[in-house]
Amino acid sequence: MGNVNVNIDGKKLRVREGVTILEAAEANGIKIPTLCHIKDQVPTGICRVCVVELERSRTLVGSCHTPVSEGMVIHTHSPKVTAVRRVIVELMLTAHTGDCVNDTNAENCVLHNLASDYEVGAPRFNVKVPRFYPAEDSNPYVRRNLSKCILCRKCVRVCASIPGKNILSVGYRGFRSKIVAGFDEALLSEKCRDCGKCIEHCPTGALSAPVKV
């Protein structure tokens, strides 16, 4: 494959054909926020935080899954992009019922940091019934607090990439979607062991290592 010319934020770049906009931008020191992206895994385009403005495109495009092509002109932080990202983060905070204020780990929360980067305060939106689930302590290796889950599905994907695992999946539909084990059962230790991969990838505090007492 050859190279193509693209213009990202006014920088004229020559990048390898077939790489994504995100990869091209990162290789040239331009930062685009992501939530559901896992480096070197097939992208999914779920969270939509990485959207960028592509000239002559009707909609914004997800940078994690759109390959570059000759002559693309891309804006990663135009006012339109920033406004959309802000509403997306606000929406994530709306349905999410985490107790982040007194969470000691808040500074490790990717969503929390994204919200402060984009100056999103308390969301102005409401939903009829927020997604609330009691925290689950059934597994000695993973504590699940799905109220904080933003449905990025990273845990599902990393678990599926481990041979013989593939324990998690998405259950239900639409706003009521939920990350489930089996047919929405407790996550038992016979299946889920101590690899800790999902905890590593979780962008919020939904999955954490249980505190030993």
């Binding site: 909609t59 994530m92 709306t94 239900y172 706003f175």
Partner: protein
């Protein structure tokens, strides 16, 4: 303009259970011409020249799509006929499938020749289960006549999800996965079902093909407007005296359709294009129906002056929220928030920032959602805000007044208790 029945020409004129009646009406002439006298490239050329565009909603040029799939290099290519027809207020595909299955199968046969597909699926909406057997019987009859040597046609029943009418979710559904949209590119023409080049066309699009091949591209492109060629089948329902399926030449006016043909008298608004379609206020009834203006899959729902606009929009959102697959954030969360806002407005519990919130959400959903459902979910909201803004403003003022008034009453009654 009176009705012009081309796609629906054989509906009612032939027996859907007997291929001889269809052959008697000149059926399969187009296919025989395509098979014996045209090269695959010529078929694609004819379709391209005719200017036929997709009737499933997006209006993508059909010939261009076919050309891309034809030129793609792969061992296996697939053809899918989209008979999911989940859009609220559309029933044209059901009408076609139950009255003229042979016309559709002929279209599929020709499309298969053109792109070199060896496997075709008819993705049938779950609620149309009763059409499964008649369709299979029709396919068997066509096979007996020897028209299906190049292609195998299977009927695949959906499971009742609206978003599975969206082409990428539809392919996921056939592959046995959770029916959710995929990001594009790659487009199905390059990598679709099982990663192979795939063409997905609506029932009505394929119904046009035999006529184009038999009568020539020039005949077809003489009908319609500059960018929208041929005829369009509309499903008309709502506050009209004669609801039903009507076929009109592209470029006819909405007035002819809903007033002259369907018999609507009192029109407050018309929604064209299903649950995420445009809302056209009564005073704009002269608007021309074509891809340049508004069309979608041809669902036309008429509302009279007794209907409440906010109620209508709330009902739309309820449907879209329920059918959102839940994959991407803007649509999954956005439809839920919009539903909350519209639900409050409907119950006279609005708040000052509601209109701004709706507009912000609409922009985000339109720009950042992964598939058409989320991208277009806010179209009726924005249209109603454009043409019926006064109703929203009124409703919010009523809410604020009611709240302050009730607040006073409530505190008075509490004082009384003490």
């Amino acid at each position: 303009m009176p009705e012009k029945r081309i796609v629906l020409g054989n509906c009612g004129a032939t027996d859907p259970n007997d291929i001889e009646t269809y052959l008697g009406k000149g059926g399969f002439k187009g296919f025989i011409k395509a098979r014996d006298r045209l090269k695959p490239g010529d078929i694609v050329d004819q379709v391209k020249k005719s200017g036929l565009s997709g009737r499933g909603g997006a209006g993508f040029p059909c010939g261009l799509k076919w050309e891309l799939a034809r030129n793609a290099k792969a061992k296996m290519k697939y053809l899918i006929c989209n008979a999911d027809e989940g859009e609220v207020g559309t029933f044209k595909d059901r009408y076609i499938l139950s009255h003229d299955p042979f016309g559709l199968i002929e279209g599929i046969c020709i499309a298969g020749l053109a792109i070199g597909a060896r496997q075709a699926y008819i993705y049938l909406r779950a609620e149309y289960h009763f059409l499964n057997d008649p369709l299979c019987r029709a396919i068997a009859q066509v096979k007996e006549k020897g028209f299906l040597k190049h292609l195998d046609i299977q009927v695949f029943e959906g499971a009742g999800s609206y978003v599975c009418g969206e082409e990428s979710a539809l392919m996921d559904s056939i592959e046995g996965k959770r029916g959710e949209a995929r990001y594009r590119p790659p487009y199905p023409q390059a990598r679709g079902l099982w990663g192979q080049p795939t063409i997905i066309n609506n029932v009505e699009t394929l119904m046009n093909i035999p006529h184009i091949i038999a009568n020539g591209a020039a005949w077809f492109s003489a009908m319609g407007t500059a960018k929208s060629k041929g005829t369009k089948v509309f499903s008309v329902s709502g506050d009209v005296s004669k609801p039903g399926v009507y076929e009109l030449e592209m470029g006819s006016s909405l007035k002819e359709l809903v007033m002259d043909l369907a018999g609507a008298v009192d029109i407050k608004a018309v929604q064209v294009g299903g649950r995420h379609g445009n809302i056209i206020p009564g005073h704009m009834i002269d608007i021309v129906l074509s891809y340049e203006t508004c069309l979608g899959p041809g669902a036309v729902v008429v509302f009279n002056s007794k209907r409440d606009i906010i109620d209508i929009v709330h009902n739309n959102m309820h449907f879209l929220n329920d059918e959102s697959c839940g994959k991407c954030t803007p649509c999954r969360e956005g439809t839920e928030v919009m539903l909350e806002i519209l639900g409050r407005l409907r119950g006279v519990e609005g708040a000052a920032g509601d209109i701004d919130a709706l507009e912000d959400l609409a922009q985000t959903m339109a720009l950042a959602s992964l598939c058409g459902l989320g991208q277009e979910a806010a179209v009726p909201v924005l249209d109603s805000l454009k043409y019926f803004r006064a109703e929203y403003v009124n409703r919010i003022e009523q809410s604020l007044f009611l709240r302050s008034y009730l607040g006073e009453e409530l505190s008075k009654s509490k004082e009384g208790e003490r």
